[in-house]
């Protein structure tokens, strides 16, 4: 009898497998456009990358694939960090300097030690926030199911090199906590060198590259928010000044200051609110700079 039980136990374990037959891809149809009249949960995926990181383009493609699934609810940001982002001045390749002081600062704070690596709304901090690209989708799906407490809208007005951005935050629930607001500019469609596997690609399209951080400050002076509260945060800026700051940073980091050439027509504003205790990004919004 005991041998039959033993045998039965083994068969039970050995039958624990699935074999999936193709086609493997499911037709998910077109993404339903985000309803702009109501606030929906949005996710920020921060992609730590570098132009000489040969595996990093697979992470960039994963970010685009997740965006294709969930449309505007997925917002990407590429942060060029580490020695993989260092410019190779005079080599004819990889000479551009995508690095920023904020990218390096966040990389150090969050302990990014290998590329590609990413964070999905910074969930899991301090021990489980660094995610490989294959883990982003599952984390994003979990995040998308969360209720939102904050609604963010962005109004930007750019005239030449000068601009004003107004961030309007609306409370959708009663909330207590220490929340901070970050507003960044990113740029897409930057054509420059990138290692992709074994290839050095000259005309690689770099998207969502972090250019600058306009503010990183407390959302308000209170830590107790009430449903219906509205907070307006106006920001003024000059693109030439911001661009020069990046050029100066490049020089200070041993680069050649080859960090300019910004194109405002390809830039976006990303505004997000994070819990300063858990570091979790609770809501994020993106809008074209020239909206």
């Amino acid at each position: 009898m005991k041998n039959i039980i033993t045998l039965f136990s083994f068969i039970l374990i050995i039958t624990s497998c699935d074999v999936v037959e193709g086609p493997y891809e499911i037709d998910t149809g077109d993404v339903t456009p985000t309803d702009t009249n109501t606030y929906v949960k949005k996710i920020l995926i921060e992609d730590f990358t570098g132009h000489t990181c040969s595996n990093c383009p697979t992470a960039a493609r994963e970010l685009e694939a997740i965006h294709d699934l969930y449309g505007d609810q997925i917002i990407g940001m590429a942060l060029h960090v580490s020695s993989f982002a260092a410019p190779h001045t005079g080599s004819g390749k990889f000479e551009y300097d995508f690095r920023t002081q904020w990218g390096n600062s966040w990389s150090n704070f969050f302990g990014i030690s290998a590329l590609p690596s990413g964070m999905v709304n910074r969930i899991g901090y301090p021990n489980e926030h660094k995610l490989g690209k294959d883990e982003w989708l599952a984390a994003a799906i979990t995040e998308l199911e969360k209720e939102i407490d904050f609604g963010i809208s962005i109004i930007s007005d750019v005239n030449g090199d000068n601009g004003t951005i107004t961030i309007n935050t609306e409370l959708l629930n009663d909330v207590n906590g220490d929340y901070k607001l970050v507003v960044c500019l990113t740029e897409s469609n930057i054509i420059n060198w990138q290692k992709d596997g074994t290839e050095d690609v000259e005309n690689y399209e770099h998207n969502h590259a972090l250019r600058t951080v306009l503010i990183d400050e407390s959302l308000s002076t209170t830590t107790s928010y009430t449903l219906g509260d509205e907070i307006e945060t106006p920001i003024t800026f000059n693109l030439i000044t911001l661009e020069q700051a990046n050029i100066d940073y490049s020089t200070s980091q041993g680069g050649a200051g080859n960090a300019g050439g910004w194109d405002a027509s390809n830039m976006s504003v990303i505004a997000y609110i994070y819990d300063n205790t858990t570091k979790e990004i609770v809501q994020v919004e993106e809008s074209h700079l020239n909206n």
Partner: protein
């Protein structure tokens, strides 16, 4: 929930240990501390640590009484040494277990390490040097229903740093010693084994069909007759895509691995001929293709060198695809012969060669399919080759000497995941001479030379070690990268170490520079950053 269970089990272990103090069981334990200071050194690329000093420490305590045992391990990373992943952070009891055996059934609850066969489909183990610990947390049963029949089954989750991965791992293994089971009185002994492992992880991917239960199984055979020993294992892993949103990154092909080893040995002579072929066999506790989730092990087919310059370019096993062969010959020239002299002479010859699979590893998705040829060597990308000859000679009662000549090819791009370095061809010579000055006093000198054009170029190394048995040792070593093509990097890496042993305690302090490089144990490797600073190591056991 997991945390509550963990705390409960830990409390149970502690209670048992406290209770046991009044009983006649035995306590055993060991302690390790590794402390290192980190100074900035721009020349070697070493970074300073904000904390100045980093520290890893471990304490194991085990209690045994009869067929019962329980224990725990306290780990402390404040903060982890720089060559460890910084997700090892803080303190905690990360290993605790209780086990008992009754009427042939062994029951373990809590943490355990386990392996099926040679590890092709499952290996849970820890190695502090590698920063590797994928201990299981769950239950395990071992049972011997009949003479010569050994069964084991387990279920649990695999440790990842200070937490456990999402996947639930189930495994079973049956091993039959045919001679024992059938009461055969034969000179030929046969042992067969069959293992199975399955991982459950829910499928929430909206774009792809994913298997929720991914299985791997292996069959093994061991035949022993006199000096002959054949060992073989074949494993298959069923469809195991990464689960990412990028369809092209998901590989639905089955993986497989074959290992085969034939050994002959007699007094003073031994020969081992081995081969293995590995195709898409990385098995993880979660779908994501991240190294911290790996739960299987592909044994390396290359010689594990201990001399620094011989191990400068070590071979990292490529679980996603490689074909390798190795021949290892040992011969002892008899005492009293012309070449053997008064004490005899030991000669070891080793050759290993690892190359890529034809066209890469197996791949299958909706748009492409590839299955590499089973055996293909000529024309395939070379990953690693090592040809070495070692001679050991005891010259007289005071002097022993070892000499090694080796020629290695190291595909740095593949083995380190780089893209522009190509293959480093190196020629290495080692001389190791030990001289016993007087009773308890021994001096040992190592001279090493590595000649290479690629990589960091050529190196020389010298080491002098003085041992005063049984308490003291002192060592000074210098690695000099005189052949680096970058003149600014033609640097000396000097290290000074001193140690004191007293009973079960060992203390060692050191100071010096370490180069950035690759550190491997059994084909499992990690990148080590350069460093400059003091080190303190304390180990103790009771």
């Amino acid at each position: 929930m997991m945390r509550k269970i963990s705390l409960t089990l830990t409390a149970a272990c502690l209670t048992i240990i406290c209770f046991a103090q009044d009983n006649s069981g035995e306590f055993h334990g060991d302690f390790d501390l590794n402390m290192q200071s980190y100074q900035k050194d721009a020349l070697i690329g070493a970074e300073a640590a904000d904390e100045i000093i980093l520290n890893n420490a471990y304490l194991n305590i085990n209690y045994t009484k009869g067929d019962f045992s329980a224990g725990l391990r306290y780990e402390s990373y404040l903060n982890a040494l720089l060559d460890f992943d910084d997700e090892y952070k803080g303190n905690g009891i990360m290993f605790r277990y209780a086990t008992y055996t009754i009427d042939g059934l062994e029951v373990t609850a809590g943490n355990y390490y386990e392996q099926i066969g040679s590890g092709l489909i499952f290996r849970s183990y820890e190695n502090k040097g590698l920063g590797q610990d994928n201990a299981m947390d769950g239950v395990r049963l071992k049972y011997r229903p009949l003479k010569g029949v050994y069964l084991k089954g387990f279920i649990g989750k695999s440790r990842t740093y200070f937490t456990y991965s999402d996947g639930i791992i189930r495994g079973a293994d049956a091993e039959i010693n045919v001679n024992e089971a059938l009461n055969l009185e034969s000179k030929t002994r046969i042992i067969v084994g069959q293992g199975f492992v399955s991982r459950f992880q829910a499928d929430i991917n909206p774009k792809l069909l994913l298997p929720q239960n991914v299985a791997a199984y292996s069959s093994r055979l061991n035949i022993i007759n006199g000096g002959w020993n054949y060992s073989g294992e074949y494993a298959i892993k069923l469809n195991d895509p990464a689960g990412s949103a990028t369809a092209e990154e998901n590989n639905y092909a089955n993986g497989n691995a074959l290992m085969s080893s034939l050994t002959y040995s007699q007094r003073g002579f031994g020969i081992v001929a081995e081969m293995h072929r590995v195709d898409h066999m990385e098995f993880r506790s979660e779908r994501a293709q991240e190294k911290q989730y790996i739960i299987n092990y592909i044994p390396t087919l290359t010689k594990q060198h201990t001399y620094t310059l011989l191990a400068l370019y070590p071979c990292a096993t490529q679980p996603e695809g490689e074909f390798g062969t190795q021949v290892d010959v040992f011969y002892k020239i008899k005492k009293g012969s012309l070449l053997g002299g008064k004490y005899g002479t030991k000669i070891s010859f080793n050759f290993s060669r690892i190359n890529a699979l034809n066209g890469g590893n197996s791949f299958l998705n909706d748009n492409s399919e590839h299955t590499p040829m089973f055996i293909s060597i000529k024309g395939e990308e070379l990953y690693f080759r090592d040809l070495n000859l070692e001679i050991y000679k005891k010259i007289n009662k005071k002097i022993k000497a070892t000499g090694i000549l080796a020629k290695q090819s190291y595909n740095k791009d593949v083995l380190e995941g780089k893209t522009t370095y190509g293959t480093v061809e190196s020629t290495i010579a080692i001389a190791d001479i030990s001289y016993k000055i007087k009773k308890g006093h021994t001096i040992r000198i190592e001279l090493q030379e590595l000649l290479a054009d690629g990589g960091d170029g050529s190196w020389s190394m010298g080491l002098v070690e003085y041992t005063v048995s049984p308490h003291w040792f002192f060592a000074v070593q210098d690695m000099y990268n005189w052949g680096n093509h970058d003149l600014e990097k033609q640097l000396h890496y000097v290290n000074i170490d001193c140690g004191f042993l007293s009973g079960s305690n060992r203390f060692a302090i050191g100071y010096g520079k370490k180069r950035a490089g690759i550190f491997c144990v059994g084909g499992v490797c990690k990148e080590v950053p350069s460093s400059n600073g003091f080190s303190l190591t304390i180990s103790s056991s009771f």
